[in-house]
Subunit: 158 residues, 2 copies
């Protein structure tokens, strides 16, 4: 992760893309969200979704995986350049999580984020707080997922 | 699901409890959130968490599973009594998702919800909107998880 001081409002990061296969949608849903439209094509066709689609929590989990992989790549690149990556604190949570459209089997979703607010932490001087809007966009350019996240990021001055 | 008209602010539902095992924490995290403190006991001990703990997204997914199972039980009981269960629409999303404390390996979390607001849907007369606060509480009585959810619930008058 870049340090707080090296981050600016408007910074955009593209985490990568994920294709949601039938098998993976069913496997996740059987474990965590076994509603008919997530586990059975025929039941999904008869549902308000009209076709098999991923659990919203599967979308969030797939996004998280791409975010973790992205930060590992960034950290490795910084280390390779002889820089120390900034530490990231635990996430205090999320606001306004929205599943805007269904993610259907076969859809490819690209996840990205934009920094929407930066402020020093009042209580922890070695950290800054970064607020980001993370989005998922399908192969037709439709936004399917959106969430506002806050993270504690190490300050260079710390 | 009970109909909108049969639901009241303050109604509390207990969905059930889930024990997060080491194996399950690692399996989820390897797939979706492979940060060191979710996949490796030794790395977790050295982290700010101090011990292996579940991905926050694992907590949300385990909660979802208990919610789905709960609603299936309620629907089956209503059907057995000769009643028709109310339909539930897709969730428009969540507000203020908070992971208040880590969920450590071996922790048992009880998930419950309380109705905090009820209103007819302005745009869809056959539906009501129910807002709930869903919480997770560990075996020590500490709240570890909280989220505010809205759901569309069928109106009896529809």
């Amino acid at each position: 992760m870049k340090f707080f001081e090296d981050t600016a409002v408007g910074d955009r990061r593209e985490f990568g893309r994920h294709t949601f296969t039938v098998d993976e949608i069913k496997r996740f849903a059987l474990a965590f969200d076994p509603q008919p439209f997530h586990v059975d094509e025929e039941a999904a066709r008869r549902s308000h979704f009209g076709a098999l689609c991923a659990s919203g929590w599967h979308t969030t989990a797939a996004c998280m995986r791409l975010i973790v992989d992205y930060h590992k790549r960034v950290a490795a690149e910084m280390t390779a350049r002889g820089e120390r990556p900034a530490k990231v604190g635990p996430s205090p949570g999320f606001r306004n999580l929205k599943w805007l459209k269904p993610v259907y089997a076969g859809d490819t979703v690209t996840f990205a984020s934009e920094v929407i607010e930066l402020r020093p932490s009042a209580s922890r001087p070695q950290w800054g707080v970064v607020r980001m809007r993370t989005t998922g966009t399908n192969q037709k350019g439709e936004r399917v997922y959106e969430v506002e996240a806050a993270a504690f990021i190490e300050r260079r001055s710390a």
